[in-house]
C-alpha cells in the first residue's frame, strides 16, 4: 500500500526532475519540476479525435496500457512491506502484465494503418523481446539465491553476505536501470526528443493519439520509470523499518531520475542497428549474475 502511494507520488515529479537536470547541465533556465504535470493536466481536459480508419482497439489501447502499468505497480513491495498484491511468482505476473499493455499499444499502432507507426511498433517489440530474458534471468537468479518467488520475499531476504554479493548487486542495478531505460524508450536506445519519424521508437507509435488518450500514454512513461526506480530501490532495503525505507526509496528515486537526466545530457544515442547487441549484453550480464549466484550457493567452486 505504502509503495503504491510512494510510486504514484514519485511519478508526478519524475519527468520534471529529469527535465530539470537536463536544463541545468546544458546551462538553460528550463521549465520547473511541475511543468510535465501541467502539460498532462492540459491534455486530460481535452477530448480525443479518432481517425475513421481506426477500430475500437485504437480507442481501447491507451486505457489498457495505463491500466497494465498500474497493475504492475500493485505488486512492487517496499522492503519488508508487501505491495497491494503479493503472491508466489508475482514477478512473472509483473513482466507479463506489462507485456499485455505493450501488446495493446503495438496493436493500436498497427490499427492506424500508418507505415511509420508499424515500423515503430516493430522496433518496440524487438527491443522488449531482447530485454525480457535479462529480466527473467535476473529475477530467476534472485529467486534461486533466496529460495522465494515473490518480490516481497525475495527483496526481504536478500542481504549482503560475501564480496561476490556486492558485485552482484552492482550488476543487478545496472541491468535494472538499463531495462528501465529500454522499456521506456529513453536515451541510449531511443531519443524521446527526436522529431524525425524514421528514428523514433516509442513516440512514433502514438502519433495518432490525441487529447485524453495521449495524456494517458504520456503519463505511462513517468509511472513506469518510477516503478522500475522502486524496484531498484528495493534491492537496497532489506528489512529496514519504515523510518529508513521511505527516505531510501525517495533518495534512490531522485538519484535514478538525475541519472537518467545526466545520461540524456551527455550520451549520444546508439545507432539503430547496434541497439540489439547492446540490449543482448544485458542478458549476458544477467547470465553472469546467475553464475555468481551459483557461486554463492556453493553449487560450483
Amino acid at each position: 500500500m505504502i509503495s503504491f502511494i510512494l510510486i504514484i507520488l514519485m511519478s508526478l515529479i519524475f519527468t520534471g526532475i529529469v527535465i530539470r537536470t537536463k536544463s541545468i547541465t546544458s546551462g538553460r533556465k528550463g521549465p520547473g519540476i511541475f511543468q510535465p504535470l501541467k502539460d498532462l493536466a492540459r491534455l486530460f481536459k481535452k477530448g480525443s479525435v479518432y481517425s475513421q480508419t481506426t477500430s475500437f482497439i485504437f480507442q481501447l489501447a491507451p486505457s489498457v496500457y495505463l491500466a497494465s502499468i498500474l497493475m504492475a505497480v500493485l505488486v512492487i513491495p517496499l522492503g519488508q512491506y508487501k505491495g497491494i498484491l503479493s503472491f508466489e511468482g508475482d514477478f512473472v505476473f509483473f513482466a507479463y502484465v506489462l507485456g499485455a499493455g505493450k501488446f495493446f499499444s503495438i496493436l493500436s499502432a498497427m490499427d492506424t494503418g500508418s507505415s511509420f507507426e508499424g515500423m515503430g511498433a516493430s522496433r518496440e517489440a524487438l527491443f522488449s523481446m531482447f530485454a525480457e530474458p535479462a529480466f527473467f534471468l535476473l529475477m530467476g537468479s534472485f529467486a534461486l539465491l533466496t529460495g522465494y518467488t515473490s518480490f516481497q520475499q525475495i527483496f526481504h531476504s536478500l542481504h549482503f553476505g560475501s564480496s561476490v554479493s556486492y558485485v552482484l548487486m552492482v550488476l543487478a542495478t545496472y541491468v535494472l536501470v538499463m531495462i528501465a531505460l529500454i522499456e521506456n524508450s529513453r536515451m541510449p536506445i531511443d531519443d524521446p526528443k527526436t522529431h524525425l519519424e524514421l528514428t523514433m521508437v516509442h513516440e512514433v507509435m502514438v502519433l495518432d493519439n490525441s487529447g485524453f488518450d495521449l495524456g494517458m500514454i504520456l503519463y505511462g512513461t513517468p509511472l513506469k520509470l518510477a516503478m522500475y526506480g522502486g524496484l531498484i530501490a528495493n534491492l537496497f532495503m532489506g528489512d529496514f523499518p519504515l523510518v529508513l525505507t521511505i527516505p531510501i526509496f525517495l533518495g534512490l528515486q531522485i538519484a535514478f531520475a538525475v541519472t537518467v537526466g545526466i545520461i540524456e545530457s551527455f550520451m549520444a544515442r546508439f545507432r539503430m542497428n547496434h541497439n540489439a547487441q547492446y540490449i543482448l549484453t544485458l542478458s549476458s550480464v544477467s547470465l553472469l549474475i546467475l553464475l555468481g549466484v551459483l557461486l554463492i550457493l556453493g553449487q560450483f567452486n
Binding site: 564480496s163 561476490v164 547487441q277 549484453t281 550480464v285 553472469l288 560450483f300 567452486n301
Partner: protein
C-alpha cells in the same frame, strides 16, 4: 575478492565481443592486465617476495603498460584503420561469446573432482576460447595478435589457479610467449606494412614472388 575480479574479467570478454574500435581492444587488454595484477596479488601473496614481485611486475609492466603502448605504436606507424572489421556482426560475436561461457560452465560441471577451483577453470577456459574466436573472426593481423594476448591471459589465469605452488617456469613461459609474439609482430608488421600499406589477412593470401 578474487571471485569478484574474475567476474569482472568475464565481463571484459563480453565487452571485447561488441567493441568496434581497435583502441577499445587495447584498453580492454590493459584493463585485463590490471585485473590479472589484482588476482595474482591476492592469490600469490604467500609465495616468496622475489617470485611475487616478478609476477606482479610482469602483469603491470608488460600486460598493462608495455604491450598496449607497443600495439598503439604499431597501429600508428603502419596507419592501420581504427575499425576492427570483424567477419561477423558484433551481435553474433556477443551471442557466440555468451555461448562459450555457458558451455565452459556446463563442461566444468561435468568434470568430477577437479584439482583446481571451478571458477578459475571456467574463466580461464572461456578466455582461451574467446581469444581463439577473436582470432578466427577478425580481419586484421593486429586483432589476431590481440586474440593471442587474450589467450595468454587465459593461460595465466589457469596457471594462477594452481595456486601458491605455481612454478616460475610457467610464468617464464608466458612472458617468453608474449615477448616472442610482440617481437615477431613488430618485424612482421613493419615489413608487410611497408609493402602492402594495409595489414589485412585477406591480402596475405595474394602474396607472390
Amino acid at each position: 575478492m578474487t571471485n569478484v575480479l574474475l567476474i569482472i574479467f568475464t565481463i571484459t570478454l563480453l565487452y571485447l565481443g561488441i567493441a568496434h574500435r581497435l583502441l577499445t581492444y587495447i584498453k580492454i587488454l590493459a584493463f585485463q592486465g590490471i585485473l590479472l595484477f589484482g588476482i595474482a596479488f591476492i592469490e600469490l601473496i604467500e609465495i616468496d617476495l622475489a617470485n611475487l614481485s616478478f609476477v606482479l611486475l610482469e602483469t603491470v609492466i608488460f600486460k598493462t603498460i608495455a604491450i598496449p603502448l607497443f600495439l598503439q605504436y604499431v597501429m600508428k606507424r603502419n596507419r592501420i584503420t581504427r575499425d576492427a572489421e570483424p567477419y561477423l556482426p558484433n551481435f553474433m560475436s556477443l551471442i557466440i561469446i555468451t555461448l562459450i561461457i555457458i558451455s565452459t560452465f556446463l563442461l566444468s560441471n561435468t568434470i568430477p573432482d577437479a584439482r583446481i577451483s571451478k571458477i578459475y577453470f571456467v574463466v580461464a577456459l572461456s578466455t582461451l576460447f574467446t581469444g581463439l574466436f577473436i582470432i578466427a573472426s577478425r580481419n586484421k593481423l593486429i586483432t589476431h595478435v590481440m586474440g593471442y594476448l587474450v589467450i595468454e591471459n587465459g593461460v595465466f589465469i589457469l596457471s594462477l589457479a594452481v595456486g601458491t605452488e605455481m612454478p616460475v617456469l610457467v610464468n617464464l613461459g608466458i612472458l617468453l610467449d608474449i615477448f616472442a609474439s610482440i617481437f615477431l609482430l613488430g618485424i612482421f608488421v613493419n615489413r608487410i606494412g611497408d609493402v602492402l600499406r594495409d595489414v589485412d589477412v585477406d591480402q596475405l593470401s595474394q602474396l607472390k614472388d
